[in-house]
């Protein structure tokens, strides 16, 4: 056993270590092979900027869904980022140690709750509230933004908190020694010093919002038309795949893979930006 064990390692571990790379390559290749022919057939410009999605008529334009994705994500960021940053400052600076040790697992739990459950909760509470107080069908960009704002909290909070906590204590001591209040220290010393980590957390939050499917399906209304207000229903790139993949075939199915390509490219760009921001420290 000992000899056997000594002989396998290096190469075996190397092969195992290639699993992540091969998975990434397979995912990219298979999704591109399925989707690219359709983009070529419809035309890149018509696919990305086409206003009409009507698979039965052979019309595959995803522009309204790109707009839907951008609006829902933007809403989630506007609503979620301030709360998440305050919460990470709370954990890193204000909370007594005992309390932060309780709040941290709670936020981790928030990340673990199935996204369908969030969507359903939104359908029961947020959608009727919007319908009654703000008008419109309730199933709307605003509802999607609110649910996504909650769902991206854990990502932004945990990464920002880590970058705040990993600052050298000297920074804080220096600011205090100069007579700054705790808040002045946070605002003018700590947050600026941690800004690349905070930026990375926001970019990763954007990535989560762009990629979320099931929660958004339940509250967004899923209309394929271009929305004209935040109280209108809309469709995102992910929900387009989630809704239609169940029954699509032929070109229609390929068009959903093509939608997946657009999604994958957006996510890859966001991830690279986040990794760059983290490294820049």
């Amino acid at each position: 056993m000992r000899k056997f064990g000594e002989r396998i390692p290096q190469s075996l571990f190397f092969i195992m270590a290639l699993s992540a790379l091969s998975a990434l390559a397979l995912i990219t290749i298979f999704i591109f092979v399925e989707g690219v022919p359709l983009i070529a057939k419809v035309g890149f410009f018509n696919f990305i900027f086409g206003m009409k999605w009507a698979p039965t008529l052979g019309q595959y334009g995803i522009f309204p869904m790109i707009v839907g994705t951008v609006l829902v994500t933007l809403g989630a960021i506007i609503l979620g980022v301030p709360v998440a940053l305050c919460c990470s400052i709370f954990l890193a600076e204000f909370a007594p140690r005992k309390l932060s040790n309780l709040v941290r697992p709670a936020i981790q739990l928030l990340a673990g709750i199935p996204s369908v459950v969030f969507g359903f909760w939104g359908l029961i509470f947020i959608v009727p509230a919007i319908r009654n107080y703000l008008g419109g069908p309730g199933l709307s960009i605003l509802a999607g933004s609110i649910i996504l704002a909650i769902m991206i909290l854990p990502t932004i909070i945990s990464i920002s908190e880590v970058s705040l906590l990993s600052l050298p204590p000297l920074l804080k001591e220096g600011a205090f020694a100069l007579g700054a209040t705790h808040w002045q220290t946070i605002r003018s010393v700590l947050v600026p010093a941690a800004k690349s980590g905070i930026l990375a957390s926001i970019i990763l939050g954007i990535g989560r919002a762009v990629g979320e499917t099931m929660a958004v399906i339940m509250v967004l209304g899923n209309a394929v038309a271009l929305p004209s207000s935040i109280l209108d229903p809309a469709r995102t790139l992910t929900t387009n795949i989630g809704i239609e993949m169940g029954y699509a075939s032929g070109d229609h199915q390929k068009a959903l893979f093509a939608t997946g390509i657009v999604l994958l490219v957006i996510i890859m760009i966001l991830n690279s930006m986040a990794q760059y921001a983290i490294r820049r420290k």
């Binding site: 290639l18 999704i31 709040v103 981790q108 459950v117 762009v210 795949i241 959903l256 994958l264 991830n271």
Partner: protein
């Protein structure tokens, strides 16, 4: 015109705002959990847990979806654990930082960011169609394995890195080989950390919907082998709630899911605390 606040006043305002943000987050978390549990727990009866759904899920229990969830998760963990832990050992013990480790890390970090619906598309075209595994527990489990791989790699790598170098040196100085050091010294010390990664992976599998519905299918029959299609609890909840089949059973399923996730998180936290308490 810029209003200059007295530093003491702005300190007070900031404190109030920051505390209320934290309270808001906790309030949202608990309102979701308490709502689902209060509506769902009364639905969970012995029959609910032990009967197979009938009439599309309108009546009967959810036994086959519990079995579906457990088997898909089991396949994912069995496949992803050795690959993830092996990758972590390669990155920490068998190589120095190089272009290869950079590529491997970049791949893992990229996988972590890919949306679950894209995993669903991939699993469908690769496992279900190309490898002809059909909608099955195997296809679903393999897709989830790829999805949780980065989590397991990252947590295992951190766990192995935090084993003090002295442990290795002592083992080597006693004549231990690299393999013996790994099996007898590193694995036991890093075990709580590695297990945390596996448990977080289990949590993701249990909660996942988009990737599973496209690869394991949504059949309500009791699966008989890993080649059977299966419906997981999360998928069952989604279908019941979205198609308005049975709200009571939807709440019951969601409550059971939340309870599972709570347990998984509690175990993960106990492990993390054990890990920290050991002085790593």
């Amino acid at each position: 015109m810029k209003i200059r606040l007295n530093p003491r006043t702005s300190q007070k305002i900031a404190k109030v705002v920051i505390w209320s943000a934290a309270i808001l987050v906790l309030f949202l978390l608990f309102s979701v959990i308490i709502y689902i549990l209060s509506e769902g727990i009364p639905q969970i009866t012995w029959q609910f847990l032990t009967q197979i759904p009938s009439d599309m899920g309108r009546s009967g229990g959810i036994l086959s979806t519990i079995v579906g969830t457990l088997s898909v998760t089991l396949v994912a963990i069995i496949v992803a654990t050795p690959l993830g832990v092996g990758t972590a050992f390669y990155l920490t013990e068998y190589t120095h930082e190089s272009i290869i480790t950079k590529i491997i890390r970049f791949s893992a970090e990229s996988l972590a960011g890919i949306p679950s619906i894209v995993y669903g598309l991939f699993g469908f075209i690769f496992f279900v169609i190309y490898l002809k595994l059909g909608w099955s527990i195997l296809s679903g489990g393999l897709t989830l394995a790829v999805m949780i791989l980065p989590t397991i790699i990252r947590t295992s790598e951190e766990a192995i890195r935090t084993v003090p170098p002295m442990y290795r040196e002592v083992s080597f100085s006693l004549g231990g080989t690299k393999w013996q050091t790994m099996i007898k010294v590193l694995v036991p010390s890093a075990l709580p950390g590695i297990s945390t990664g596996i448990i977080l992976g289990i949590g993701r599998c249990v909660a996942e919907t988009a990737a599973v519905i496209l690869t394991a299918g949504s059949a309500l029959r009791m699966p008989t082998s890993i080649f059977s299609p299966a419906r997981t609890m999360a998928v069952h909840f989604y279908i019941l709630a979205r198609e308005g089949i049975s709200l009571e059973r939807a709440y019951g399923t969601a409550a059971l899911l939340i309870i599972l996730i709570l347990l998984i998180n509690i175990v993960a936290n106990l492990l993390v605390n054990k890990f920290v308490a050991k002085g790593h």
